[in-house]
Symmetry: C2
Subunit: 331 residues, 2 copies
């Protein structure tokens, strides 16, 4: 920047003002033009590090997700990026694998890099990191998964409505024995969907039957379904997966047991991850607007960074059931 100032024949303070859109009004138009020209000529790129040190704003936000490899998260991250980038922010994405140590290590690293705020999509319902962040006045927003103590805004899908839509659909098809392969109760989505399932079946005066999976994975879903199929008692005619991966695992177990979907067992997923359409049978699922989740979270975070207080409100985005080929009337 000193070079730019010299070429333009002004003091570097003036160059700084001319180059910053917010302060360029304080500078004579002709002078500003000269500075801009000099900057272009020299191929000048402002040093964001120096700027940050001076202003104590890095225009950087930390995004903590469990695992980028889970198809739920890439669209969330893109939604976040799409609102952040045009406003001059960049996202530092870190994968925690739902391990508290990794999460804490990344959180510390991001704090050291002076992130202006955080978006957390990580799972546990109980979250010591957040308490200390809140005490320190650090802006943050939660996506998809809440914590028991509401300290920060949460952007999430309307899981109860989505779960109700899935159960109602199965009941309308004529199913009476509808089992829920639930996500871990230690995750807020797992708990919330399980509760919604109980309410939904109760509303139809059906019995709740629920198997908790160890994790939101196909393998866990397969194990749970195998266990369910070897249990005594009448076989269920419909299974509601806690998410799509659990449903995929259940599908494997259904086939391995020599059963057909949807003829013998109807099956629904949750999240509507990509390529469900290409499966045979194409999987009925509850669509979650993941991109919009990211967009809303980024907006709320930006508001906080710009001074709005961290209100622990919840923003629920509507979900919709996408009916495909894995659900049919019981035979």
């Amino acid at each position: 920047m000193s070079d730019v100032a010299r070429v333009a024949g002004v003091h570097k303070a003036t160059a700084s003002r001319a180059l910053n859109p917010l302060t360029s009004g304080q500078v004579n138009q002709a002078t500003a033009r000269r500075v801009l020209a000099a900057a272009r000529q020299l191929g000048y790129t402002p040093n964001a590090t120096a700027r940050s040190l001076r202003t104590s704003r890095t225009h950087t936000v930390g995004v903590l997700i469990p695992d980028l490899t889970n198809p739920l998260f890439p669209p969330v991250v893109r939604g976040i990026e799409n609102v952040l980038f045009p406003r001059g922010y960049t996202a530092l994405v870190a994968n925690t694998d739902n391990e508290p140590d990794r999460e804490a290590a990344h959180f510390e690293a991001l704090l050291g890099r002076q992130a202006d705020g955080f978006i957390l999509a990580t799972g546990r319902r109980d979250h010591p990191l957040l308490v200390s962040a809140h005490e320190r006045g650090i802006p943050a927003v939660l996506v998809n998964r809440g914590t028991d103590d509401a300290l920060y805004p949460l952007v999430t899908g309307d899981d109860p409505a989505g779960m109700t839509a899935a159960v109602d659909h199965l009941v309308a098809l004529g199913h009476r024995r509808i089992v829920h392969l639930a996500g871990p109760a230690g995750l807020s989505t797992g708990l919330r969907r399980s509760q919604a399932y109980r309410h939904a079946v109760a509303a139809h005066e059906l019995d709740a039957r629920l198997v908790e999976c160890e994790s939101y994975t196909a393998d866990a879903g397969e194990r749970a379904m195998v266990a369910l199929l070897t249990e005594a008692g009448e076989r269920p005619t419909a299974v509601v997966g806690g998410n799509d991966l659990i449903a995929l695992g259940a599908l494997r177990a259904i086939r391995a047991a020599g059963l057909r979907c949807p003829e013998d067992v109807s099956l629904t997923g949750f999240n509507d991850m990509p390529f469900l359409d290409e499966l045979r049978p194409a999987l009925t699922s509850v669509h979650v607007p993941t991109h919009e989740l990211g967009v809303e979270a980024a907006r709320l975070l930006l508001e906080q960074i710009e001074g709005a207080p961290a209100v622990a409100k919840t923003i629920s985005l509507p979900l919709r059931l996408v009916v495909r080929d894995s659900t049919a009337p019981p035979s």
Copy 2:
């Protein structure tokens, strides 16, 4: 840090030396312990911004990918992160959507943030950005897709070997009319795989027949397959997709035409993206070790950042054909 120094009763220069593992040897052990204790007590986190300004190293690398939502890239990014994070680096991931303007804008933004280096997985074979980066001595590594001018190291799958394995497999099953639904020739993978396809069929003294798709998407694959099926001449008995998405689109078109896979048309993909196993038929594909690609790229970048020259070598990782249910002898 001044606070830490005061509490420990030393000058901040000494505190700085004690806190940095590389310089803590220069400090009396007892003094160092006092500083560490003070830092812990105050909950001190070093300000990476200030450090960067002083050392002109941000421990940050820019990762430019086309689209995080393409299942090829998340594992690459995780591989990158897995080597970067333990070494104190973080990745700034940006999506370019293969648009030159977006790419240039992100590149500029990352340069302004003083990224220590770049990993580029973006597509075009011709790349003005890279030329200017190279002139400026900026460390960089390419992943998966190379450029025509070799300026930087490239880490990629051994596409020719993968393509040859796919064609050989189909020939061994008895296929003679094998078509390639190619990726765009403007992308280096598209060109490279097409060439390998031509060589592979020529080696079996078969005619090459190739349809170029507009992009690496299911829709483009579907359009290309529809066009192919409406052409005059003998219908092919096997189709080699330029990637899995193209193959998925081809599968749609095959079905829409009332044909069965693999009975009427055998089909292979490329990349072996997640969940191909769950498709019916499960798709035969060439497995690309995406995580390893990211790991190797990050290693090479770190070497450059630490002073190694940017040698334009190519590192080819082995690929292997995963045979599933979408390929069978012609009927």
